[in-house]
Structure formats: structure tokens, C-alpha cells
């Protein structure tokens, strides 16, 4: 405690930090980062043992994360700060809003689904071609009960503006995956903070992807750079997403509800972010011609 010595300030600056972090509560170190750390130690020790001058190919690539196959010298695992709102309970179909059970009528968005009353959602299929002279036909909306609706919130303010993201991967862990066929997972960009809460209707969200949730699939990796959600330039200071799991068909109401509860409870999300700090990474020496 107390003012930092000039030496400490200089050393922190050399480590790219402005002040010593003060972690609130130390978290367990994720196995992936332990593994990456140990690999880097082994590589550095091996490089030392050879002690012969090495060509650029043999040099340990200090600014590349070999295991993840991307350039970068900073790897962060950002925990999810979102709170699960429905505790895994099946949700109502009042998304369309209005009516006696609209969120406005009942305060915060806590709904219960009557499984016998399917969810009404907007059609996902693109509009059908407009037949000349004929009437427009819409497909029936998807009828899938919403099993889990989890807001994901990642605080990225620790990243320096100069850091260039080379991997932004959403890592989801859920026990045993889907209990049966036909389950789906969808990821949306949450609306801005002013619309969150009971005012946020799902149609304010930008749907990013929907993909099947397979039985037994207990880990799911979604590359957000590939989704175009975040660009190669600096990341936003925080990232707010909504993860939804839609129950598949075939189960009875109670079985599906129990599965939703266990899925909701076991669902954990974190964001693996790899960035390259250009000022701290020397381009590799080119081979002498």
C-alpha cells in the first residue's frame, strides 16, 4: 500500500501496466491459460538450451500463440458478468408484447411458459418471392419454446486501444449438451443499455447466429471475429450479448423443463481474447539475403 516507488512505476510500465492490479477475489486459473503458460515456459527453456543462434523459423515466436494459431502476445480470458434471468425456467411466448401478460403489465421480465401455448416469433425464413399478380405467402413462424435466455456481458475495458484483436472466441460450457434432437442455440447482440430490462424486446436485438445444439456437446466455441461482430481494429469497451437455447421437440413438458433448468444452471460463458500489441512485438528478423 502507499505510493509506488519510481522503480516500481518503471517496471510496471515495462510490463505494459499503469498500476499494479488489485484483484477483488482471485479466480481459479483456467486450464487453457495454464497450458499456454507451461508451453511457453518449455519453449523458452528449450531455446535457451540450444543457445546456438537460431534462424527466424527456429526462434520461439514471442508474438504468436502457436496453440491457437494466431498472432498475439496477450491472451485474456474474460469472465461473463451477465446474470441469468430466467434460472433455466421455460419462458412465456409474450415476446410479441401487448396483451394481459405483457411485460409492462407484470413488471420485470419474468415469464412462465405454458408449454401447450407455443412461442410466436417472427418468421426467420426470408420473404418468399413475390409472385406476379398473386398474393404474398408467409411461412408459418418457428414454434420453439424458449428454454434459456442468458444475457452475456464482457468487460473489455482492460484492453489498451493499441491492442489489435486476432482472436475473440466465445467459449460456452454446458453440462451434457442438449437432451435430444432439435435443440437450437442462438446468439444476438443485445440492445444498448438504455433499452435493456423490460423495455428490451427481442426484436431490438441483432441476431448473429443460430445453430443446432447437439446432444453431448458440452463445449461450444463461437469465433466472434468470423461473425463480423467485432472488427480487426480496437474492441469495444464492453460486449453485451444474449444467448438463447430453444428447446427441441419430442420431450414432455416436465422433462423439457427439467432439462432447461439443468442447462440454465450449468451454462457458463467466457470470452477468450488474443491481441497483438504492435509496440511490444518486434517484427521477426527477416532471413538475410
Amino acid at each position: 500500500p502507499g505510493p509506488l516507488s519510481p522503480q516500481a512505476v518503471a517496471l510496471l510500465r515495462a510490463l505494459g501496466l499503469s498500476e499494479p492490479p488489485a484483484p477483488r477475489q482471485p479466480r481459479p486459473v483456467p486450464p487453457l491459460l495454464w497450458r499456454l503458460f507451461r508451453k511457453s515456459q518449455e519453449k523458452l527453456a528449450a531455446a535457451k538450451e540450444t543457445q546456438e543462434p537460431q534462424g527466424p523459423e527456429q526462434q520461439a515466436q514471442p508474438c504468436r500463440v502457436e496453440e491457437l494459431g494466431v498472432p498475439g502476445n496477450i491472451v485474456r480470458l474474460v469472465p461473463d458478468r451477465g446474470k441469468l434471468r430466467n434460472q433455466g425456467k421455460l419462458l412465456s411466448g409474450s415476446r410479441a408484447g401487448g396483451g394481459a401478460d405483457s411485460p409492462q403489465a407484470r413488471g420485470p421480465p419474468r415469464h412462465r411458459l405454458n408449454p401447450s401455448r407455443p412461442v410466436t416469433r417472427p418468421p426467420r425464413a426470408p420473404c418468399l418471392p413475390f409472385p406476379p399478380g398473386g398474393s404474398v405467402q408467409f411461412e408459418e413462424p418457428a414454434l420453439a419454446p424458449l428454454c434459456v435466455e442468458k444475457p452475456l456481458f464482457f468487460n473489455l475495458s482492460a484492453l489498451a486501444p493499441q491492442e489489435q484483436p486476432t482472436l475473440v472466441r466465445l467459449e460456452l460450457a454446458c453440462a451434457r449438451g442438449a437432451p435430444g434432437p432439435g435443440w437450437e442455440l442462438s446468439l444476438s447482440l443485445a440492445p444498448g443499455p438504455q433499452l435493456w430490462g423490460w423495455q428490451a424486446h427481442w426484436h431490438h436485438r441483432q441476431l448473429l447466429l443460430t445453430q443446432p445444439l447437439l446432444p453431448g456437446q458440452d463445449t461450444i466455441h463461437l469465433d466472434l471475429l468470423d461473425l463480423g461482430l467485432v472488427g480487426p481494429s480496437a474492441l469495444p469497451r464492453n460486449l453485451s450479448l444474449v444467448l438463447e437455447i430453444l428447446a427441441g421437440g419430442g420431450g414432455d413438458g416436465n422433462g423439457t423443463e427439467a432439462a432447461c433448468t439443468s442447462l440454465g444452471r450449468s451454462l457458463e460463458a467466457s470470452l477468450l481474447v488474443v491481441t497483438l500489441h504492435p509496440q511490444q512485438c518486434r517484427p521477426l528478423a527477416r532471413r538475410r539475403r
Partner: protein, 114 residues
């Protein structure tokens, strides 16, 4: 025409051990690993003509030669790190994220005259 007497061997430019302990600096509560690292440092002189064996570039050899002729006008070359290694540090940042960061040029492996 008489070469000056060679300094004692332990005064010649070479790496010296320096271990940085994060516990000594009081950072062991947020640095997860390593506990510290061997940073080392360079110390020693680059006298003429020994500089030819000290990882020296031509200019350093020339400078040590000039120093032997006119020491007041030309200082000896400097003993500095010429080969460095990176380290990786695993730590918690202020956002409670676990961070693995790679820092280049943190360990002195070799010293030389420049």
C-alpha cells in the same frame, strides 16, 4: 608498442546474475506465475585488444584501439546485452481477467561490447 596489462578476468564484460522476485516487489498477490525470473545484467570492461573476443562488432574493436592510443579522447566501448530472451507472465488484471502476457527482451543471455 607494449600492450597494456590485461584487467583481471572477473572485470571483463560478461552477464552477471540478477533474480527478480515478484514477492520482493510485493506483486505476488496478482502475479500468478512465475514467482520471479532471472533477468541478469551486463557488467565489465571492454579493453583493447580483448574486445576481439567479446562478441564485439568491428566498431567496438576500433574504438578500443583508439582508446588505447588516446584514452582522453575516446572512451572504451560499452558492455551491453546483445542477446535477450522473452518471458511469459500469468496474472490477474483489474478487470479480474486472467491474462497471459508475453514480454520480449526481459532476460539477458549474452553481453557484448558496442
Amino acid at each position: 608498442t607494449v600492450a597494456p596489462a590485461a584487467p583481471a578476468p572477473d572485470r571483463i564484460c560478461r552477464p552477471h546474475q540478477l533474480y527478480v522476485s515478484f514477492r520482493d516487489v510485493g506483486w505476488h498477490d496478482w502475479i500468478i506465475a512465475p514467482r520471479g525470473f532471472m533477468a541478469n545484467y551486463c557488467r565489465g570492461s571492454c579493453p583493447f585488444p580483448l574486445a576481439t573476443q567479446l562478441n564485439s562488432v568491428n566498431h567496438a574493436i576500433l574504438q578500443s584501439l583508439m582508446h588505447s592510443v588516446a584514452p582522453a579522447q575516446t572512451p572504451l566501448p560499452c558492455c551491453i546485452p546483445v542477446r535477450l530472451s522473452p518471458i511469459s507472465v500469468l496474472f490477474y488484471d483489474n478487470g479480474d481477467n486472467v491474462v497471459l502476457r508475453h514480454y520480449e527482451d526481459m532476460v539477458v543471455d549474452e553481453c557484448g561490447c558496442r
